[in-house]
Symmetry: C2
Subunit: 244 residues, 2 copies
Amino acid sequence: MTGSLVIAGLGPGAEGMITPEVTAALSDATDVVGYVPYVNRVAPRDGLRLHPSDNRVELERATLALEMALKGQRVVVVSSGDPGVFAMASAVFEAMENRPDFQTLDIRVLPGITAMLAAAAAIGAPLGHDFCAINLSDNLKPFVLIERRLRLAAQADFAMAFYNPRSASRPEGFARVLEILREECGPDRLISFARAVSTPDQHTATVTLAEATAEMADMRTVVILGNASTRRVGRFVYTPRSAA
Amino acid sequence: MTGSLVIAGLGPGAEGMITPEVTAALSDATDVVGYVPYVNRVAPRDGLRLHPSDNRVELERATLALEMALKGQRVVVVSSGDPGVFAMASAVFEAMENRPDFQTLDIRVLPGITAMLAAAAAIGAPLGHDFCAINLSDNLKPFVLIERRLRLAAQADFAMAFYNPRSASRPEGFARVLEILREECGPDRLISFARAVSTPDQHTATVTLAEATAEMADMRTVVILGNASTRRVGRFVYTPRSAA
């Protein structure tokens, strides 16, 4: 039996945002691997083994998935959003380094609706011009690098999407991010907070940087900062297609 | 009758990448509006009027859609990829400025799989760390701003996704982009070209910046530049989750 590994994005939460190719891969799987809350989104059925694991064990999880595929199982690694954006795809490729046996496997990455795109759609079109995506978690990089990227992105007048803005273990980090953004972009720049996008708990709010506080974000929130031209129209926020 | 306007993303081309909520919106529509090749992707049926229009008439197209919604029609504006990324959502909001009648309409944006995410998935995980998305079309901004953004993004060590890299009307622009990137990132940086992603014509290639030529891209190509840590593993290209 020939095994396979699919790295699939489940989108931000709504069933209606899961692509048909991801649904088909899950229907064909023998094993589903992922962080507990994402594996919980996969319906159990006969013949499907679920392998939920804790957060911050990405490499071990990836290696488990690759080992099962090597044994002939049809494995799907699930991520929230898109697997290639601050999610499991990079961890799987990392686990393949120095393992030629893993590198010959049948491996496919299936994209998903990443959180910033669902958040942007809920808000209007704040990413309608050039933008960047920054993971604010400092687990995998020093804060000094985050600060450098924020300042350069502001100088480039990118709109910005921030993933993992705030956690219990480092509540002060996002407050410092807001200070840096106020220094670079001024008090009137629009910033949007989109929590639990596409789920029944969805909540969005847009304020100016002067009004923004760290408490407006938690780990279920995606934060989108506009560029210098971003503005409101009716109940929406959008960034024009033309540069200022 | 109450009209509505949905701005929907059809994804990069494959049927299997169209989300169920977009399919449902199209099934419920009375009118579909969009650029010719995207409207051509919508199956005709009784009771559905198709309104294809040419490229570069985005504001007129958006106004037509809003006018029809105001008359009570259920209108879907279709974009390729995601409507909020270099596509129709910003044009619709632009057309709503100074039109309070448009601003009270029932309007929703439905996200889609944008080209860079499908391209990244086909290549591996080149956008697995902080990244930016830049529209290289200079229809809506001067080249001097593109150059400034490229240099700042390189200094921030963002991976970069480039939309609309090259057109017949300005073939020299992308050659200049490659020169700037070589100056900022050196000759060994990996750059991937993904053409017609998710369609039967899909073709991907990864080379170094030293090897890259402008002819490797056309208007159906998304180009992804790695960051300083991006590397190959087997037949894939990925960017590690940790900063260098």
